[in-house]
Every structure is written in structure tokens, then in C-alpha cells.
């Protein structure tokens, strides 16, 4: 039984590895055409990245967009997570559902909505946002907030509020308690949430497709526009860089939330989490 399950798992993991591996292998191929068996290896396509202004500018746009969206998500998401875990609010579940809801909306539809809003705003007030990062930041904020809220709330739930009461009874004010006790104890969740938010924004395609144009074309959109038209390993090279970044982020998240997870599951009757940053709670 266990062997059969192991075999099934091995097949599934192989399927998951196939597509990234194909990209990595093609990125080091000596020529533009794919060869079986390969005649050698070359890093020339990585050096050639510098000559692809669209991909380079896409990379920088995506890095900038990811950083802004993550920063804004932390500023709004951490207070929300505090309110949801420590505020004894009625209807807590409903508020959480509202904050997480953009994750289950079709990305392209949300992008169309934001695009329409930007057009209406321009008509009504004359404020032109087309061609700026603003519509992209707005759209990406919607999908980064959920990751911050979920991760920070999970972290706060697994720490003991009694610690904060003790700080208060020892004479610390509410702000001192927040800064010196509550937030440090949620550090793992904040870092994991920020990292997930950045990675999700960096790789997002559906939301950006309708909103990116000219200088604001993001890397996934630039890759999409290139792969459909040319056979060019340079795209594979830049894609390989993002694959490497994703793996590093996954390893770091596992490192950070490992201790958090252990603490969370040791409290009996608590809500057990298996994936890093609550990834298992897909909704």
C-alpha cells in the first residue's frame, strides 16, 4: 500500500518538475533550436539578456511593482490581522472572507474592472493613470493583502496573548506592548507573508495583462508576448532566473515557518497547519 502511494506521489512530483526542467534545459542550449540529444551547453542566452530591453524592463517593472504592492499590503494587512486575532470582533470570519475574496475572483475580470475604473476616473476628474504603475499597484494590492493577512493572523494565533497581558501589567503601554511584544512574536508570519505577497505579485499574469502597456509591461506579460512569437532561449534564460527565485522563496518560507508550524501544532486542539504560510487553506 505504502509503495503504491509512494509510486503515485513520485509520478505526480515528476509531472510538477517537468515544465520548469524543460525551461532550464532550453536556457542552456547552444543554439536557438532545441536539440535531442543536446550537443553541448552554453550560457550565451544569459549574457544575451542585456540585448532584450523588453525583458529587462519587464524584470525591473515587476520587481518595483512587487515591492510597492508588498509594502502597501504590509501597511494595511498587519493592522487587519491584529484586529482579526486580538480585537474580539463580532463577525470575524465574515471580515476574513471579505479580505481573502479577491483571491477567488477571475484575475482577468478583476483587471478589466480596474481598467474600466481608471477610464471612468480619467473621464470624471481628468486624472490620467493610464501608462503609470498605479492601476497595476491597485490590482496587485488586492491579491497581496490576503497573503499578508493570512500569514500574520496564523502567526498571531499561535502566540500566547497572555504574554501581552503580562507586559501590560508590568507597566508597558499599548504601543510599547505592540512594538516590543506582539509584533516581534509575529515576526515569522510577517516575513513569510511579505515574501509570499512579493512572489505572488511578481509572477502574476492574469491581473496585469490588461493593465500593462508600454513601460509598465511586467515580466510575465513580456514573457507571454515573446514566447508566442519567437523561438528564443533568452526567454528561457530569464524564466530560469524566476524559477530559481521561486525555489529560494519556497525554501526560505519553509525555514521561517518551520518553527512557527511546530509551535502551532503543539498546542492541543489548535488549528493545525501543514503548509507554509497556511498555503493549504486554499480558500
Amino acid at each position: 500500500m505504502r509503495i503504491a502511494l509512494g509510486a503515485a506521489a513520485a509520478v505526480a512530483y515528476a509531472v510538477l518538475l517537468l515544465a520548469p526542467l524543460a525551461v532550464i534545459v532550453y536556457s542552456v542550449s547552444p543554439g536557438a533550436a532545441l536539440e535531442i540529444p543536446p550537443s553541448g551547453m552554453s550560457l550565451r542566452w544569459y549574457a544575451g539578456l542585456a540585448d532584450q530591453p523588453r525583458l529587462v524592463s519587464g524584470l525591473f517593472t515587476s520587481l518595483l511593482l512587487g515591492a510597492i504592492a508588498t509594502g502597501a499590503a504590509l501597511v494595511t494587512g498587519i493592522p487587519a490581522a491584529l484586529a482579526l486575532t486580538r480585537g474580539s470582533l463580532p463577525g470575524r470570519e465574515a471580515f476574513l472572507a471579505v479580505l481573502l475574496s479577491p483571491l477567488s475572483l477571475p484575475g482577468l475580470v478583476l483587471g478589466l474592472g480596474v481598467l474600466t475604473s481608471a477610464a471612468v476616473l480619467a473621464n470624471a476628474t481628468g486624472i490620467q493613470t493610464a501608462g503609470t504603475l498605479l492601476p497595476l499597484v491597485a490590482a496587485h494590492l488586492l491579491i497581496t493583502i490576503p497573503w499578508v493577512v493570512r500569514s500574520v493572523a496564523a502567526s498571531l494565533e499561535s502566540t500566547d496573548p497572555a504574554l501581552e497581558d503580562q507586559a501590560r501589567s508590568l507597566g508597558a503601554g499599548p504601543f510599547a506592548t505592540l512594538l516590543l511584544v506582539t509584533l516581534p512574536s509575529a515576526r515569522a508570519g510577517i516575513v513569510a507573508g511579505a515574501m509570499s505577497a512579493f512572489v505572488i505579485s511578481f509572477g502574476n499574469f492574469a491581473l496585469s495583462l490588461l493593465l500593462a502597456s508600454g513601460r509598465t509591461v511586467t515580466l510575465p506579460v513580456a514573457i507571454y508576448e515573446t514566447v508566442d512569437r519567437y523561438q528564443d532561449p533568452t526567454v528561457a534564460a530569464v524564466s530560469t532566473l524566476t524559477i530559481a527565485a521561486a525555489v529560494v522563496a519556497a525554501v526560505l518560507t519553509d525555514r521561517i515557518s518551520g518553527p512557527l508550524r511546530a509551535r502551532g501544532s503543539s498546542s492541543r486542539g489548535g488549528d493545525r497547519r501543514s503548509g507554509p504560510a497556511g498555503l493549504d487553506r486554499v480558500r
Binding site: G87, T116, S117, G258, S274
Partner: protein, 284 residues
Amino acid sequence: MDRSRRRVAGLLLLPALLVVAVLAAAPIGLLFRVALYPPGPVAPLAGGPELDSFAGLLSAPYPSVALRTLRLSLLTTVLVTLLGFPVALFLSRSRGLSRRIQTLLIVSPLLMSVVVRAYGWMLILGRQGFVGETLAALSLPRAGLLHTETAVLLALTESFLPFMILALAASLDRIDPDLLAAARGLGASSTRTFLAVVVPLTLPGFLAGASFVLVGSLSAYAIPALLGGAAARTFVMEIYELVTISFDWPTAAAASLVLLLFASVLLGGAALLSRRRSARSFGT
């Protein structure tokens, strides 16, 4: 004390709620308004309000495209469940380093852009790709799967598999081992324990995972556009072309709202079913 605490909590929650309300709810509300204008190529967004854009969705090509999209999504959900269940079982029985490595294998693809993964499948399935070149190297007739529904199905299955594994594993991890021991102690065989105890208890995870996969594959754009193209047009591809090629915003808005409504009903239905089910089994 409690009251002021609640007031502070409300203030802390406000910015995030405002962001969602202004940036998600308002744009969707606007789509409603746009959908009420008379539809047509390069629609001037004047006149109406009328429901012609919704009525237009009943004529070709939308019904057949919607059916294909639904068929692809249902097949994806079935495949992901069949592949994901044994993996989730294996994962939930693994401990230590093995579990951490498996988690990495499952989570890493989620952190990669869907475009990059679709690109990988293009490289594998194309006539000039890994499959085609391998066939040619073996002096077999060159063939490829690119621009077929099968290619779309394959890539959709791969891209949603991690979500289903994680959802099912979360349910499996919550099963109390004492429950399994009790079933065994009462004389149930291991097969019967599995079918009568383990499978029903994974139902919440299955419902959450399945509804997410179904809605996600209905909304997918990059995978059907890159791997299917004209051979497998989906509903979201139609919406994209309505906006960017025919500039028929009212029809695009109406189609978006139909998709949104359908997705909400699916997700809401699954959540309701899951809640009722767990209420029944625990008598609360």
C-alpha cells in the same frame, strides 16, 4: 474596555476593508454599468440601459465556448483529484525531512509564474520541442500536442495539482489517529476504515480544493491561450479579445459578470455543502 478594544480593532481593520471595497467591489459595480450599454464592435458606451449585451451571450460562439471551458475545467478537477488523493495520503503519512522536501516540491511550482510553467509545456509538447525532437531523433514521424485541448488539459492539471494536494492533506492531517484506532478496534478492516472513516473526513478538503480548481481553471487565461490557441478557445479568451480586438466593452463586461456569478455560486455552494456536512457528522 471591551468596547474600546473593539473600536480600535475596527479602525485597524478599516484600511484593508476599504482597499477591497474600493479596488474590487467598485470596479465590479462599474462592470454592471458598462454591461448595460448597447453592445457591438467599438461600442460607443452611450445609450441604454438595456440587456442586449447579456442576450448576445446566448448566440454563437459563446454557448459552445462556454461548454468547452466547462468541460475542460471539470476534467481538470477530476484528474487533479485522482492524482492528488494518493499524493496527499503519502504526504500526510510522511514525517521529517521527507515531508519537508515533498512540501517544497508542491509549493515551489505555486510560486512560479503560470506563464513560465505554460512556456515549459510549450517547449515539451511542440513539434520542434522535446517530444517532437525525441521522435525525430528516433526516426519516428515528428508529432506534437501543442495547440490541442489535450495540451490545455495537461497544463491545467499540472498547475492546479498542488492546490488539491494541499487541500486534501490539510483534511487528512486533521483526522484524529484515535478515530482510526477505534474503527480498527471495532473490527473494521483497513479497507473499510479507509472508505468509511478516512474518505468522508477528507470531504471538506475535497470540496474546498475542487471548487478552487474548478473556478481557477474556468478563469485561466495563459494556459489555454498559449497551449490551446485557436484550437481550444475558452470563455476568458473571448473576454480578452472582446476588450482588445473588437472593443466591445459591454459584451466583455456582461461575459465577465456571468463568469463571476457562476464562480461565486460554485464557491458558495461548496462552502455551504462543506458546512452542512461537518455539522451533520459532529452533531453541532
